[in-house]
Symmetry: C2
DNA sequence: CTGAAAGCGCTTACAG
DNA sequence: CTGAAAGCGCTTACAG
C-alpha cells in the first residue's frame, strides 16, 4: 500500500505539504498542489483513515443504529442516509440492536463506544435511560429518525396527524365501526409512534361524534404477520368493524390477507388503510398515509454532516416532514351506505 | 475519553501489560489480568480501533458491498452478515454501488481503498474487469454471495437447478405454454443469475419434450414493476402462456398484479412461480423456489472471519446452498387439463 | 511475567 | 509557501 511518504518522495516535497495539498488546505502553491494531486492519483494513494484519525480524532464514518432490521422502514432510512454520506465521503457503519438487553449492551458498550464514528443516526428506537446517557457521554452529534428523543434533534412525521388523516378518510367514507391495529403494550422497546397514531384515530372519531369502542383497538407490532394475528384477535372478540386503520402498511397487508382468508372482500366488506406507502403497497392496492422515509434518512444524514462541518449544535430541533393520503382500492364506502 | 494510559495508571502497570491483558494474550499473570479487566470495565475503556489499527494494520471491520439496495435480497444478505459479524466483534461497513460508473469509481477508489476494512463481502454484483483487479490489489479476503466471480470464493445456489425445479413443477402440472420472465440483456451490471435460471428452464422444457418458444421469454430486472412491464410485453406479443416462471418473487408479484388487472385469474388462468421465498411471498400465496439468503450472508461472513483468524486461504471454494420448491396457491393445473 | 521503547501513518503547531 | 518534528493511542519485538 502506498503511503504518504511515497507520494512525498515522488513529488520531492515533505509529507506535510502532501497532507495539506490533498486535503485542500490553504497555503500550498497552486502548481505544487496540482503536481501532488497528479502523483497521488497515479499512485492510487488515499490517506488511511486510521492514521488520519489518530491525530485528529475524526473517523470519517457515521453509524446508523436501528432495531434488528427485518423491515422495509429501516432499510429505507439507511438508503437515504447512505446517499448523502457517500456523496460527502463518509462511510456508513451499520449497527442492529436486538431486543435482548444483553446483546444491546455489547453493541453499545463495545462497538459504539469504540470511537469508531463521528456521529450517530438513530432510527426508530426507544432507548433505555442508560443508553441515552451513554449516547450523550460519547459526545458526538446524534440525530434521531422517528420518535422524539429528549436532548437530540430529530426528523419525523406528525403521527397524531397521520392517525387523523387515515381515520378521517374512513369516517368521510361513511364508516363508523373503525378498528385500530397497532401498539403492542408489552413491546418495551417499541417507540411512541403507535400511541400517537392511536391518539389521532381517537381525535378523528371524536370529531365525527363516534364513541370509540375499546374492543376495536388491537395491539400489534409492525410486520405483516402481526397484522394477521391482530385481525384474528379482532374476529375472536366478535366485533365486526367495517374498516381498519393499521399502524403500518405491512400490518395492513397482513390484515387484508387474514380478512380474505376468512371470506371477507376488501374493500366491499372491509376497508383497510395503512401508513408508510411501503415500496409494495401499490401491489395490494393499499390506501395509505404516505411518508418519505428515504428523505428522512437523507435529511438526518445531511444535518449530521453539517454539524460535523460547522461544529454548530442547532439547538434541539425537530424537523417534521409532510405526509399525504394516497387513496387506492382497499377503501370504499361501507356496504349498504348511500352516497 | 479514557485511554490505555488511564487504565495502566490506575492498575499500576505498564500500557503494554494492559494491552496484552485486555486482548487475552498469553504471558500475563492471572491476577494481573483480572485486576486490569476490572478497571477497564469500571472506566468503560475500549481500545480505539484507529490507534490499534495503525500498528497492526487491522481495522476490525468488514465491508458489505452491493448494488443500490432497493431490494429485499440485499437486505437479507446484510442481516445475515451482521449477525455473525457483531457476534464476533466486527463492525459492518455498508457500501452501495450505483449503476453509474463514475459513482462506482468514487466508492471503489476513494472509500474502499482507504484501508478501512479487513475483508469484503460482495453481494450479487457483476464487477467490471478493473474493479476485480482493484479488489485483488487490495489484498484482503473477499467473499461473494450470489454469482461466481473468478478468483474469489463464493456462496450461492445452483441457479440452473432453480430453473429446472420451478419449470419442472409447471410441466408436471400439465403446462406446456410456459413463459420465462427475467434477464435484461442490456443490464450490463446484472449478474449471470438470470441466464442460469433460463438455462434450467430450457432444460426442463426439453426433458418434457416441449419446444421452447422464444416469444415466451421476456427480459426483466428483479423488481415488482419490472414484472408488470414484462407481463404487459408478453401480452403485446400476443402469446398466451398458461404459466410464467419469473426470475424472482418480486417480479412474480408484479406479473400477478398485471395479469389480474387484465382480468386473468391466478392460478385458474395463469400459474406463476417465482424464486427466493421473499419475506412477503406468503401474502401472495406465491409458489416459489426458496433459498435462505440470510444464511448465505451468515456463511459468507463466517468464512471471512475464519480466514482473517487463521490467515488460511481456502482455495477458491464454491459453497452451494440447497433450494426447495414451496408450493402455494399461485400454481395449479392449466384450465381444462385432466388430472 | 512485566516494562521501556520504537514504530504504525498520518496531522498540526511552530519556524523559517 | 514549505519543512522538521512532535504527537495521536495503541501494539510488538526486545530485554530483563
Amino acid at each position: 500500500m502506498t503511503g504518504i511518504v511515497d507520494v512525498a518522495a515522488r513529488a520531492g516535497v515533505s509529507v506535510a505539504t502532501v497532507s495539506r495539498a490533498l486535503r485542500g488546505l490553504p497555503g500550498v502553491a497552486d502548481t505544487t498542489r496540482k503536481a501532488i494531486q497528479q502523483i497521488a492519483a497515479e499512485l492510487d494513494y488515499v490517506a488511511s483513515p486510521s492514521a488520519a484519525g489518530l491525530p485528529t480524532g475524526r473517523t470519517g464514518a457515521v453509524a446508523v443504529v436501528s432495531p434488528v432490521a427485518r423491515g422495509w422502514y429501516f432499510t429505507a432510512v439507511c438508503e437515504g442516509a447512505q446517499d448523502v454520506l457517500t456523496a460527502n465521503g463518509y462511510d456508513l457503519l451499520r449497527y442492529e440492536l436486538s431486543e435482548m438487553e444483553t446483546d444491546r449492551h455489547r453493541v453499545f458498550d463495545t462497538q459504539l463506544l469504540r470511537k469508531r464514528v463521528d456521529a450517530l443516526l438513530i432510527a426508530s428506537l426507544r432507548l433505555t435511560h442508560d443508553e441515552v446517557t451513554a449516547l450523550h457521554a460519547m459526545n458526538r452529534p446524534v440525530m434521531v429518525v422517528g420518535p422524539v428523543v429528549p436532548g437530540s434533534p430529530c426528523v419525523r412525521v406528525d403521527d397524531v396527524d397521520v392517525g387523523r388523516l387515515a381515520t378521517g378518510h374512513l369516517v368521510r367514507l361513511g364508516h363508523r365501526a373503525i378498528a385500530y391495529v397497532g401498539g403492542n403494550p408489552d413491546d418495551r422497546l417499541g417507540f411512541p409512534v403507535s400511541p400517537a397514531r392511536h391518539a389521532g384515530y381517537l381525535q378523528a372519531l371524536e370529531s365525527a361524534g363516534i364513541e370509540p369502542d375499546p374492543a376495536l383497538t388491537v395491539p400489534s407490532k409492525f410486520r405483516a404477520n402481526d397484522g394477521v394475528n391482530a385481525f384474528a384477535e379482532l374476529c375472536a372478540r366478535n366485533v365486526s368493524p367495517t374498516a381498519v386503520f393499521t399502524v403500518s402498511d405491512e400490518v395492513a397487508m397482513g390484515v387484508m390477507h387474514e380478512a380474505r382468508r376468512r371470506g371477507l372482500r376488501v374493500p366491499e366488506d372491509l376497508s383497510v388503510v395503512g401508513v408508510d406507502n411501503h415500496d409494495m403497497s401499490w401491489l395490494f392496492g393499499l390506501t395509505t398515509v404516505a411518508q418519505d422515509v428515504r428523505e428522512q434518512g437523507r435529511i438526518a444524514a445531511a444535518t449530521l454532516i453539517e454539524r460535523l462541518r460547522t461544529g454548530i449544535e442547532h439547538e434541539t430541533s425537530v424537523t417534521t416532514m409532510p405526509t399525504s393520503l394516497i387513496v387506492r382500492s382497499s377503501t370504499s364506502r361501507p356496504a349498504g351506505a348511500r352516497p
